[in-house]
Symmetry: C2
Subunit: 311 residues, 2 copies
């Protein structure tokens, strides 16, 4: 195939998937057209894990949690005999899984709370600079999908404001989303823990508490969107059942042109292949809903010329 394409979305193969995106953008930006949307209302929301970057073999944030437990372990000798910490220190992910959400919540409490927001930002930034993915041997911030980076840029070039709406931690993402995705901190929506305002030696800080504030997943996504953005998106992009309600909120029962897209992981060779069977990124109801609601489904293997910038 000749690589002569110079239009937008160069890493997308020609075909109905790419055409559906270009058609939608053309319709909402056509001045005087029947589907025209003023720029300030061109709100697009993107899931992060599995939609903008890799979420296998585990969420990147979980890799961060596990690494942090190991870093903190010397200060907590009791963890050797205390679950779920012992499971992490022994590298026994099956044992860890047996502790379920409660186990992960305990790990999040000791790794995400008990410091100021500025300190947490520094910890995340330093970890991302040195941590490497086991399979690709690269920083996680390189494991972002090149076609999706092009899509973000393409939408912004057409007057859209792009937001991330993720089940992941809002303060885990904000330190790097502007550099990697071009999405500034104020356009990131995510899960959060509570904070407490304090003055320390005439300097104000926000201290992170081991208490969940908001879970930005499933039906939480429309709620998070409403809280942070205050209007309904006209386009939403996800990859799993956790994104179902966000895609509904963006596309159903509303007038005008609307666009929903689901990234289907079908490429075991270049990335991963998973959906209904997977614990991560389970795509069960959302895939059926896509057919019903005419959401675009990306077949990664067929629709993307390359997956990563280094491909």
């Amino acid at each position: 195939m000749a690589q002569t394409q110079t239009g937008p979305l160069p890493s997308w193969n020609e075909g109905p998937t790419k055409a559906s995106i270009v058609d939608f953008v053309a319709r909402v930006t056509e001045s005087g057209g029947p589907y025209f949307v003023p720029p300030d209302q061109r709100i697009a929301t993107f899931d992060n894990d599995g939609t903008l970057w890799v979420e296998q073999p585990m969420y990147v944030q979980l890799a961060f949690v596990l690494d942090r437990v190991k870093v903190l372990a010397p200060m907590h000798p009791e963890w050797k005999d205390k679950q779920p910490f012992a499971a992490v220190l022994n590298g026994d992910l099956k044992a860890l899984a047996a502790f379920g959400e409660k186990g992960v919540a305990e790990l999040v409490a000791v790794t995400h709370a008990g410091m100021t927001t500025a300190e947490f930002e520094k910890i995340v930034t330093e970890w991302l600079a040195t941590a490497r993915d086991g399979r690709f041997k690269r920083p996680y911030t390189e494991l972002v999908y090149q076609p999706m980076l092009e899509l973000l840029a393409y939408l912004r070039a057409n007057g859209f404001k792009t937001f991330i709406v993720s089940g992941g931690g809002i303060e885990f993402m904000r330190p790097w989303t502007e550099t990697i995705y071009g999405v500034p901190p104020e356009q990131v929506v995510g899960s959060s823990i509570k904070t407490r305002y304090e003055m320390r030696d005439s300097t104000p800080v926000l201290f992170r508490l081991p208490e969940v504030d908001f879970i930005d997943d499933k039906a939480g996504k429309p709620i998070g969107i409403n809280s942070h953005i205050g209007r309904r998106p006209i386009a939403a992009f996800g990859n799993s059942d956790g994104d179902l309600e966000m895609l509904q909120w963006a596309t159903l029962g509303a007038s005008g042109a609307r666009f929903g897209l689901i990234v289907h992981h079908t490429d075991a060779e270049r990335e991963y292949a998973y959906d209904r069977q997977s614990h991560f990124g389970k795509l069960d109801v959302a895939l059926d809903a896509a057919a019903l609601n005419r959401w675009t489904v990306v077949d990664m293997r067929k629709d993307w010329k390359r997956i990563f910038s280094f491909d």
Copy 2:
């Protein structure tokens, strides 16, 4: 005085107050200068009640609550004998005040919850279109301070992103802040109640619940700023003790140029004069903190040529 001024902030009198604003903006925008701040970090946060529009003789949102109780009363004959509703229906604000925050919370529950977010937006919009302030006989959206509108525009013209951070209801403000202040919904931070996501006849809605989610006042303001914006403002504008922590968060213990400003209501003739004595907009600690921290204090009577656009 000759009205020949053509620079920015035409409704501000010349003097140290105006000079402090212009100097700050000049410093952070001077390319290559020692205080230069990149545009994406030029975050400015504004309180609303008493800072951008009138908050006397009561918060506009409280006037909305009282009007809504009267509108809903025919469907609630029992309110005639039930407090705090009877106090509202009898126009007895003293009796209402005796019920304190709990009384107001009851009124908010029946006037702000029990409908979808879209329905609430419609109610607010229709109310603002018809309600009139008792003293000025004008829509509340005309009782915004002309010098502050100019300040918002001046900051934006210099690359700032302007946010509202108010103790008022976030969904009470969003329907009109873009038209009146040029601040879009996604740049409004405020107090909120919880919502529930539902599908109704294939249409998604968010249903407003009679349960407080977040109070964006005092120490809540830095928390709300962190949640919605994700970085510290370099400038903050308020008028009362409710804004103290926001001004601290924007200006103290941080490097570079920072700017804090407090609007002091000193003009009983053209607007109102109040501070330490007032229930609304109490300015007790914040006024002392302004002197200590070199925040600019606006003397409305002296510093503003006109207060409203219709002056």
